[in-house]
Symmetry: C2
Subunit: 616 residues, 2 copies
């Protein structure tokens, strides 16, 4: 018996760097933990929900009310009460029952001893979707302390079959409570059940305590590892490109300046909203717009009645108008006090020149590709966009890759393989999470991921895409389709969803709408750029074959009026030992959206940063 226990114990290896067993070790087993019956474990986590079940009360009617306490369990008394004075029980229920604890006591003739109870806690430690039911008798921990949502608990006990059959195979009968981290219920923002995901955005530090965000983070983790595995399997070297840069890779993005000029004696100021209409800030309006857009999308998805949808759309439009008014005011008086910018001498700044947060690492990465061959990077990239959108925040993570000796076709093939690998990876490793998201947000999750793996991506030129869209008669696009425009989300959605019904790679874009470094095609009008567009999430990857011909590169830089001094080092790569090369960048958060079925990037980033928002 003892040796059998040892065998079982070996099957639940505790986490090496603390004294607890991670819940996934128990609940993530094929048998749901059933094979571990009778095993003693220490588990820790945070309470998701709690229920208290009172035991039969033990009370006695005393003719003269004294101060001597009663024995807490007096079976014979209970029996008497149950059999002889049944009406008293209902009185006791009223006085001592309910879910609040300790029971509210009133002056009464009946003395109420502490009612023993059993508490059932759903405890989650973030290691898997499932939570463990921990059964705690009130004799070993005060229910009032352990029951609030968010309480941290470390408990030792034995795994047993549930008393009542439910969805879980096993539960833990707690024998010792080793730690309780209490919650101030009045102040804890996650006390309510089923908070809408949007309401969590102001509580980045707590949001992973919800099943949804914890699941997102596990998917993010799995996708990160899959990313590294894909590149390692294919012989790419990981290169960390700089965050602080003096080269703007795109030439047309809003960038953040990195400086020490403002730091020294500057007083720290409290956040304050810049502009308001009737006491409503633009900030608040934008948040409302997001909420309302979500509602609309949800209504669209859930096939609910048309009227509700129409009303929601009307409401959204109104809020949008208000926001526009406010924005136009803002444009009239932009951050007024500091257009002293002209006076600023950046040669006195930390780097002796103006430095930005990087928008893209592709140029830097190319310099490593043109010596190490195949390289990739994975890091944060920044855009100071003031426009709130569900697709962008100020700080996002990108996977970027560059390959020497490779051309447009190669990069497109690699992009397709990469996406397929990611989808396969999460389907293999995250079915718990994917099922959760399917149930809660989007039923089509598994199909969508599967279809990426099984379909071969359609490859069409930009010109073909425009032609195809021009022939569309059953849909009116907000932005008219003309050769030369940037395709918008509506165009891409239509191409992917209606025309080709699978992922599409669009290549050879007009040179005017793509960055300077992409390779000019023989037609002189287009460049060897490509976008990978998938159903639901839109464009996940943007790539290109890059201009390797020095003379063409110089011409492009002149054409665009870019300050060539900034790019001398980049041109060096073409001056000395140039080679055909291609690469792409992946909007990592968009991949997470695609894999989870969520719709707002702010929900899949641990600490999202956007206009007016950086609370921690």
């Amino acid at each position: 018996m003892a040796s059998q226990e040892a065998v079982v114990a070996a099957m639940v290896t505790p986490f090496k760097y603390s004294n607890r067993v991670v819940l996934r070790t128990i609940l993530g087993r094929g048998d749901g933990g059933l094979g571990l019956l009778g095993v003693r474990v220490v588990v820790g986590g945070w309470v998701r929900s709690a229920k208290e079940v009172k035991k039969e009360p033990a009370v006695v009617v005393q003719p003269d009310v004294g101060s001597s306490p009663l024995p807490q369990r007096d079976v014979s008394c209970v029996e008497i009460l149950q059999t002889r004075i049944p009406f008293l029980r209902s009185i006791i229920r009223v006085l001592g029952g309910g879910d609040s604890y300790p029971p509210h006591r009133e002056k009464t003739d009946i003395v109420l001893p502490k009612l023993p109870s059993t508490v059932f806690l759903q405890v989650s430690d973030g290691s898997c979707v499932a939570s463990l039911k921990v059964v705690v008798e009130s004799t070993i921990a005060s229910p009032g302390q352990i029951m609030p949502t968010g309480t941290c608990i470390l408990a030792e006990g034995v795994l047993k079959l549930p008393a009542v059959e439910g969805k879980h195979a096993i539960e833990l009968q707690a024998e010792k409570i080793l730690h309780i981290g209490t919650v101030d219920q009045e102040k804890y923002p996650l006390s309510k059940k089923r908070l809408p995901i949007g309401s969590l955005r102001d509580f980045s530090h707590f949001k992973p305590r919800t099943t949804t965000v914890a699941s997102v983070m596990r998917m993010r983790d799995a996708l990160t590892h899959a990313t590294h595995n894909f590149f390692q399997n294919n012989g790419f070297l990981y290169v960390q490109v700089p965050i602080i840069t003096t080269t703007d890779a795109e030439g047309f993005s809003e960038t953040f300046i990195v400086t020490t000029l403002l730091g020294k004696s500057a007083e720290k100021v409290e956040p304050k909203y810049v502009h308001e209409i009737e006491g409503v800030s633009l900030e608040a309006l934008k948040a409302a717009i997001k909420e309302k857009s979500n509602l609309v999308e949800e209504l669209k998805r859930s096939d609910s009645n048309k009227e509700a949808l129409v009303a929601a759309l009307r409401d959204l439009r109104k809020t949008n108008e208000l926001a526009q008014q406010l924005e136009s005011r803002e444009e009239l008086h932009p951050g007024a006090s500091l257009n002293k910018a002209d006076e600023i001498n950046f040669s006195e700044d930390f780097f002796s020149r103006q430095a930005y947060l990087t928008v893209s690492g592709r140029l830097h990465l190319q310099s490593y590709a043109c010596s190490l061959g195949n390289v990739y990077s994975f890091g944060p990239r920044f855009r100071a966009e003031r426009h709130e959108s569900m697709k962008h925040v100020a700080e996002m993570w990108m996977v970027e890759l560059e390959m020497a000796f490779s051309q447009l076709e190669d990069a497109m093939t690699c992009a397709e393989d990469f996406l397929k690998f990611l989808c396969k990876s999460v389907l293999e490793n995250c079915m718990g999470e994917i099922n959760f998201f399917s149930k809660r947000f989007d039923k089509t999750n598994v199909d969508r991921l599967q279809s990426i793996i099984s379909s071969s991506f359609e490859r069409i030129s930009y010109t073909q895409a425009v032609d195809a869209l021009k022939q569309v008669t059953d849909n009116k696009f907000e932005t008219k389709v003309e050769w030369g425009i940037s395709l918008t989300e509506e165009h891409e959605t239509y191409l992917v969803g209606e025309i080709y019904k699978r992922p599409v790679i669009i290549y050879n874009y007009p040179k005017k709408i793509k960055p300077f470094y992409m390779r000019v095609n023989d037609d002189g009008k287009t460049v060897a750029a490509f976008d990978v567009v998938v159903p639901k999430a839109g464009t996940l990857i943007r790539g290109s074959q890059n201009e390797e011909r020095m003379s063409m590169l110089s011409t492009r830089i002149k054409e665009l009026g870019i300050r060539s001094e900034e790019y001398e080092w980049y041109m060096d790569l073409r001056r000395h030992g140039t080679v055909k090369n291609s690469g792409f960048s992946v909007a990592f958060e968009h991949v997470v959206l695609f894999a989870t079925g969520l719709v707002d990037v702010a929900d899949v980033i641990p600490f999202p940063r956007s206009y007016g928002k950086a609370n921690n």
Copy 2:
């Protein structure tokens, strides 16, 4: 025969996303590529060095100099020349020989046809330390084009045994040159052989074309993958903490401000040095100090004569003094024009408040640990330190880890395991690189890595460390050892190298020298912080058990006079569901220094950023 070739061909799978075979696939084999004899491959890379061997010349003396060209190969003529007019050969040598190509032609009676030659190129593609010898006849490519160092070449040919026995098992006989990316030799900064590593720092975009930096980058890559593998194997989730933050994790570092206030209409300015002495900038002096320090270290290592060392030390001291003078001048007139900082209203900035580049992600990570259990992060961290040092630049990568339900001991064990895993990993996967570094920089490389794996780390309290150092009589420390001081490099080096002769973990530091969030010990004087110190590289890891008690945390924040508003969200973690927790952060670049034996962080970062330096 055909099927055998197919088998061999299958053994050299070309890289999937270009038409070439990566050199590691050939040279990284156990047999050095010998098993691939006769296999046709396409390889690409950059020329490291080249040699031209002239064939026997084919010339004929023509009595009347005409314009009709001679056949390039005329064996009978050669024979005649060789046998009958031997003295003419020496004249031809003088006129047409040498290494420069095309040969310098002078008006002469002797018409020189093009001299056929064989070019031997050492080609490297960055995938391994070794390069491949590519043999190119001048009939298929112009030697003058392909020979300069840095030329990019894509060649198809057959693997064969070397004509002359050398260190390589095989070489490639080129049959077709598919691409040549030429080099402008006058302007190419890497034309010389064996450039000192320090001189590469201004050419971040080219430096990976050297064997040293390419090897560093492969080690960096291997260490990155090992990092992810370690945490994945142990069930940690990867969490990307924010780069832009409004919370200063340390409270005492120089931070970079992230802003859009300076961007709008600011003119971009050229880099300019702020202060100079006799035309020498502080910038240049600091670079010189680095160089000279390197020299001193090298001299110390190489057991060269004492006099050279003394002279080098004297020189270093002088340069240091000059730099100090210049710095004190600078302190008198700090970045003068913009202490308008007081006027700046950060509520008008992008985030409606002052935002920084993160110094450490540990606080943010703790919030995820206190919901997901065991988490880690790996990303760039920033310090605006003006002091140049071989140990720090402005942008460095950190591995950070936080664990809920864990204590000081757990974090120390995890840190030790992590380091051992990394060392094991590079010894398993990077012996080519390690051997290269051993030969070029530090003979003790393998032993140093091995000793980390085999030794159990000594764990001593700060107080023990101070006591041990106080008893040292054979060494005079520059900084006197007293309880309460921050141990300096000299102290740590002595502890690790002289007293304990193995890696040391020092724990329980005085609370005054550690950040506010570390757990106060019962003595009230120390906190549960620890540093992991290793031979040669010094402190690689700093960690702590964190203060989980809300009241103690408040007290610490008050004691230190930190603006508590900024930390409200962090305190929330202790208010609601608190738990014992610990973690650490690893200076990733210092680990790379340790593994490679190099001494300056700027050499192990792709694009280093430091005071006055961000060139791309």
